[in-house]
């Protein structure tokens, strides 16, 4: 039996997507904490400052977009990879992208830091199956 995920971080430059994803998560998973970032740099900063000393028993779920102007999802992952293992152990990362480019999907699948590639918009079934079973 998987545990209920309680913390979500959304990284996407499109505030509309973030709004929509946040609403869907909140509606379907109930009591959860969802934090969203338009700028990926701020998300990285937040991860470092918040998770350096805290230690949550359960994993935090991070949804990451690929096409962002200042820092792409891939570049975000490169920076994230340099973080300490105790921080990285606290995250499950999913790529949440509107892209239907097979190259992107392939690249996500090959990246060991990424659990899965999810196509936008996020599906309720996926949420329920993955985080509430």
């Amino acid at each position: 039996m998987r545990k209920l995920a309680k913390r979500f971080i959304l990284v996407d430059d499109d505030p509309l997507t973030n709004l929509l994803t946040k609403k869907i998560i909140e509606r379907n998973l109930g009591e959860v904490e969802v934090k969203d970032f338009d700028a990926p740099e701020l998300a990285l900063e937040y991860i470092v400052t918040e998770f350096e000393h805290k230690k949550f028993a359960d994993k935090t779920i991070l949804f990451l977009d690929i096409n962002m102007p200042t820092l792409t999802g891939w570049e975000f992952l490169e920076k994230y990879e340099t973080f300490s293992t105790p921080i990285k152990n606290q995250f499950n990362i999913y790529i949440l992208s509107s892209s239907i480019d097979p190259m992107d999907i392939e690249r996500a699948k090959l990246n060991p830091l990424v659990i899965d590639f999810i196509e936008k918009p996020i599906k309720i079934d996926f949420l329920l199956n993955t985080f509430l079973a």
Partner: protein, 1016 residues
């Protein structure tokens, strides 16, 4: 007792020595000075006074204390200790010691006067002070002391008069005091005066003594100097040693600091150093070849023959030039004295001294004498030398005469000729050694007995084989002796038993004071005869045929070949003594005569003739006519050589044929073939090459023309060609393609060229080149490459669309899907509903924008075919600034433009407008918020290309990470500014559509520069 005395003496010596050491401080004063004696007296006074003063001190101190005059006791003790201190303590100047000594005694005398009831001791001390002042100080000090005594007495008189409560006043009345004290005053002055006179006399005598001693020394020195010089002159026989010795003596006996002798080189105006002493190696270099100027001391001496004296170098203006040198060598005064030779100034004797005013009248007088002696000695040397030379010359002449006589007879005897002297009858008078030797060697026992016999008879009597020659000889002798001939000669064989020999006899008349006759000389000419025979052999066996003619063109000599030539080709037998013209073919006679005429004038002539022999075979002959010259170079005839050159001619013809064949071969093709030498001169070229050159450069290129100076290669490609040639010259054989840009020499073209070094004797002697015009093929290739490029570009565009669809079109679509799902499935509050509907609308709008963007991009690709026009950059920017003034004003941007270099371009105005607008707006958008934004736009022309640059001082982009994406669609690099990432994509698309390229250079926080290049 004796031991005690010895001990005392020992300690006294130590004491006395110590006092002397500390007081005089080992000052080495001159005993001729009075001050020396004053110091010595002072030292002795201290030495003896200190222990002796105890005699006075002990009783007076005891008395003072017992009688209650404690002040006196203390003063006595104080005075004693002070004197003891200045006697034994070191490190005090002698003048200070003296001052302390005098003042302490004076103080003591005043104290005694004041406190003792009786004036005796005080007055005694006062008098002692005066005497000691005179002895150890000076006479003036004694007078001062006398006056001091007078003043003290005066003061005490005042004490008495006013009844002051002192010991003196209580004891004396005014009258008695004056009586007592006046004695002191009198004695003080008397002693002062006496001692003054005594010491003055002493000083004067000391001074006199010193001066006379110095004079004596000087006189002695000068005497020694001159006597040494004179001694040297007597002993020495050559000038060099005299000079060296003179310099040495000047230093050793004359006590001068430096001495040197130089001679004048009037031609070079310099002084040649002959010898020196006391001058260092380095300074010698300065002295050597010292040039002398007009009005210099040396020049003065040379001109006047008088000495030059400078007693105070420092103040002499005329010798400024050598002051520095003199200072360095510490020279105070110097004298230059002339040294004469045969009455005229020959050199100088230079003497230098450290002191000023060193040379006084005595010195000068003596030095003049010395140089006079040296000059005299020089004349003497010269005379002696001349005398010696004359003697040697005489001896030589005598020896020569003797030698000549011996030589003559030796010559006669060693001559390889047998010589005999005959009298007018033909009788043999004298014979030389060879005559006798000849007789001996040939076993002619009677030959040395010829003397006294008649040689005509001997000749006539000769028998056998020699009889004919004997008769000729007798006839010749008679002719000479009778006076009807000046010279007779004949050559005759005279074989020995073992070898073949030839002799030549010469007879000449002989006339002397005593008698007339003839000289007969037999010379062995076997060697010459043999050589002649060998020469003949050589001449007759060469390939060449030759003939020698005299100035009348008569044949003098010819070799066998020449004879055979005439025989073979003309059927003529030539003979000596016949004119060569007689053998010439009639039709050639005139021409041959003119050739010989020229030759006899000194010219060398050549001609070729073709002769058919009797069998009708043609042969070529090369004839060379040279003037024949005798040993003095005078032309005495003509020398003709003939060489058969038939073979050579045939070979040349064959070669010529081959050359023409090759030429025809290379001229038959249209490609260019040529070869050049190592210094870039044309060796050969085919017609196609010459034609091409003529066509494109107007130059009619010929063999031997210089490629570089002819200017046939366009300047732009001159260096490339030189490089190619150089490569080939290094031995490389290669093929290359050369591009010629469009120029005044023709349209753009491509050629394929190959270069091969021409190797002669393993060295590169030139380059063989071949070139072919491949413009057509190249153009086709380029066309193909362009099509391929276009296809690749098209493919990239398609990829771009795939990207747009997969990323950008998908993003709003995904949002719309999510939002509509949400709106359908969830129960929402009115507030939420409104929010979601807004989001939905925004997404739909985004979708629409992207579709419109795609449309405008596609539009770009279609519009290229629109009409192009001439656009002015400055006009364009003015329009832009006008229509977007609000944007520019709002952001406070400064836009500078400079289109002075190139202002016009033939292009699509719509695109250019869009490019300018997008780049300016890009610069404004990404300006630094805290700094005045500046955008600079410039145009320039480079290699025919128009280049536009847009430079801003904005935020900049990190090109290392974003470089490849900067012109990508929907790429943005800053989040704080609105933008959809379309501008730069459009700029690139439009620039490329009108045939340009765009590049970017940027640095974060410094700014960005876009460079657009249009191929004109």
């Amino acid at each position: 007792m004796q031991k005690l005395n010895k001990n005392f003496n020992y300690w006294w010596d130590i004491y006395a020595k110590h006092v002397q050491d500390v007081v005089l401080n080992n000052k080495a004063d001159c005993p001729e000075e009075v001050s020396y004696w004053r110091n010595a007296v002072f030292c002795n006074i201290l030495t003896y006074l200190t222990p002796l003063s105890l005699i006075a001190l002990i009783p007076s101190v005891i008395m003072a204390f017992t009688n209650g005059v404690i002040v006196i006791g203390i003063a006595d003790l104080f005075a004693f200790f002070v004197i003891l201190l200045i006697t034994v303590s070191p490190g005090i100047k002698i003048e200070v010691r003296k001052a302390i000594f005098i003042s302490i005694l004076f103080c003591l005398s005043v104290t005694l006067l004041y406190f003792l009831p009786l004036p005796g001791p005080g007055l005694l001390f006062a008098l002692a002070v005066t005497i000691l002042s005179s002895l150890v100080y000076s006479s003036a000090a004694a007078y001062i002391s006398s006056w001091a005594n007078t003043i003290v007495c005066g003061f005490f008189a005042l004490f008495i008069h006013f009844g002051n409560e002192s010991t003196v006043s209580s004891v004396y009345s005014m009258g008695s005091w004056i009586a007592v004290s006046s004695n002191l005053v009198l004695l003080s002055f008397a002693f002062s005066k006496c001692l003054d006179l005594l010491l003055a006399g002493l000083t004067a005598s000391l001074q006199e003594n010193k001066i006379s001693k110095a004079k004596l020394e000087r006189a002695n020195r000068l005497y020694q100097f001159i006597s040494q010089i004179n001694q040297t002159i007597v002993h020495i026989k050559d000038a060099d040693t005299l000079f060296r010795k003179s310099c040495e003596i000047a230093l050793e006996f004359g006590k001068y600091q430096m001495a040197w002798i130089g001679s004048f080189d009037t031609a070079q105006k310099k002084i040649v150093l002959l010898n020196s002493c006391g001058v260092s190696e380095q300074d010698i270099k300065v002295l050597t070849n010292l040039p002398y100027e007009t009005n210099s001391p040396e020049e003065y001496v040379l001109r006047t023959g008088k000495y030059f004296l400078c007693n105070t170098l420092e103040h002499s203006l005329e010798i400024n030039s050598r002051k520095r040198y003199a200072e360095k060598l510490n020279i105070g005064s110097f004298i230059i004295l002339p040294i004469k030779k045969s009455g005229s100034v020959f050199g100088t004797f230079n003497l230098c001294a450290t002191e000023y005013n060193y040379f006084d009248q005595d010195d000068i007088k003596l030095l003049k004498e010395v140089t006079g002696d040296i000059s005299f000695a020089l004349d003497l040397f010269e005379k002696a030398e001349r005398h010696q030379e004359a003697e040697i010359e005489l001896q030589k002449n005598f020896a020569k005469l003797e030698a000549a006589s011996k030589e003559q007879s030796a010559i006669l005897n060693t001559l390889p000729a047998s010589i005999a002297l005959l009298d007018n009858e033909g009788k043999v008078l004298k014979i030389n050694d060879e005559w006798i030797q000849f007789g001996k060697a040939n076993d002619l026992h009677h030959s040395y007995e010829h003397i006294g016999k008649n040689y005509i008879e001997i000749s006539e009597k000769s028998s056998g084989r020699d009889s004919k020659d004997g008769k000729r000889m007798a006839k010749g002798l008679k002719k000479i002796l009778s006076g009807s001939g000046e010279y007779f000669t004949m050559e005759y064989p005279c074989d020995s038993l073992t070898e073949k020999r030839w002799y030549k006899v010469e007879v000449r008349p002989y006339k002397s004071l005593h008698q007339n006759g003839a000289v007969v000389m037999h010379i062995n000419i076997t060697e010459r005869k043999k050589a002649e025979a060998e020469m003949l052999l050589l001449i007759n066996n060469t390939e060449e045929s030759f003939i020698l003619l005299d100035s009348n063109l008569q044949i003098v000599f010819f070799n066998n070949q020449f004879r055979n030539l005439y025989k073979k080709y003309f059927g003529l037998e030539i003979q000596k003594g016949v004119s060569i013209l007689d053998y010439a073919q009639p039709e050639r006679k005139e021409m041959v005569a003119s050739i010989y005429k020229k030759v006899l004038e000194g010219n060398v002539e050549e001609s070729e003739i073709i002769i058919a022999d009797l069998n009708d075979t043609t042969s070529y002959f090369s004839l060379k006519y040279s003037p024949a010259r005798d040993e003095s170079g005078t032309i005495f005839g003509a020398f003709v050589t003939a060489v058969n050159i038939t073979e050579k001619k045939k070979a040349e013809e064959q070669k010529e044929f081959e050359r023409r064949d090759k030429e025809a071969l290379i001229n038959s093709i249209d490609d260019l073939i040529w070869s050049i030498s190592t210094d870039f001169k044309l060796i050969a070229a085919n017609n196609a090459f010459v034609k091409e050159m003529k066509e494109y450069t107007g130059v009619d290129i010929k063999q031997g023309d210089d490629f570089i100076s002819l200017n046939v290669i366009p300047d732009a490609s001159l260096r490339d060609w030189e490089e190619l040639y150089q490569r080939a010259l290094l031995g490389e054989s290669f093929k290359t393609e050369i591009y010629n840009a469009h120029s005044d020499m023709g349209p753009e073209s491509w050629i394929e060229a190959s270069f091969s070094p021409i190797i002669v004797n393993e060295q590169v002697a030139g380059i063989a080149c071949y070139s072919r015009n491949i413009t057509e093929r190249k153009t086709a290739e380029l066309e193909r490459a362009k099509i391929t490029n276009d296809l690749i570009q098209r493919n990239r565009d398609l990829e771009q669309f795939t990207f747009i669809i997969s990323h950008n079109l998908r993003a709003p679509t995904a949002n719309i899907i999510g939002l509509t799902e949400f709106l359908q499935n969830e129960i929402l509050t009115p507030q939420e509903q409104k929010e979601f509907l807004n989001a939905l609308a925004s997404s739909a709008l985004g979708l629409d924008t992207i579709i419109k963007d795609i449309n405008s991009i596609l539009q770009v690709k279609l519009e290229v075919n629109e009409k192009k026009e001439i656009i002015s950059f400055s006009k364009l920017i003015n329009e832009l600034l006008l229509s977007h003034s609000s944007l520019i004003d709002k952001h406070q941007v400064l836009i500078k433009s400079d289109f002075s270099e190139v202002d016009e371009i033939f292009s699509l105005k719509v695109y250019l407008h869009s490019i300018f607008y997008n780049l300016i707006s890009n610069g404004i958008k990404y300006s630094k918020p805290d700094e005045q934004s500046l955008i600079e736009i410039k145009s320039k022309k480079e290699n025919g290309k128009i280049i536009l640059t847009f430079t801003d001082n904005g935020l900049g982009i990190d090109l290392t990470t974003k470089g490849d994406k900067i012109f990508g669609l929907y790429k943005r690099f800053h989040t704080h500014v609105e933008g959809k990432g379309m501008g730069l994509f459009m700029v690139k698309t439009q620039v490329e559509a009108i045939g340009g390229t765009i590049t970017v250079a940027s640095e974060i926080n410094k700014g960005t520069e876009f460079t657009i290049t249009f191929e004109n």
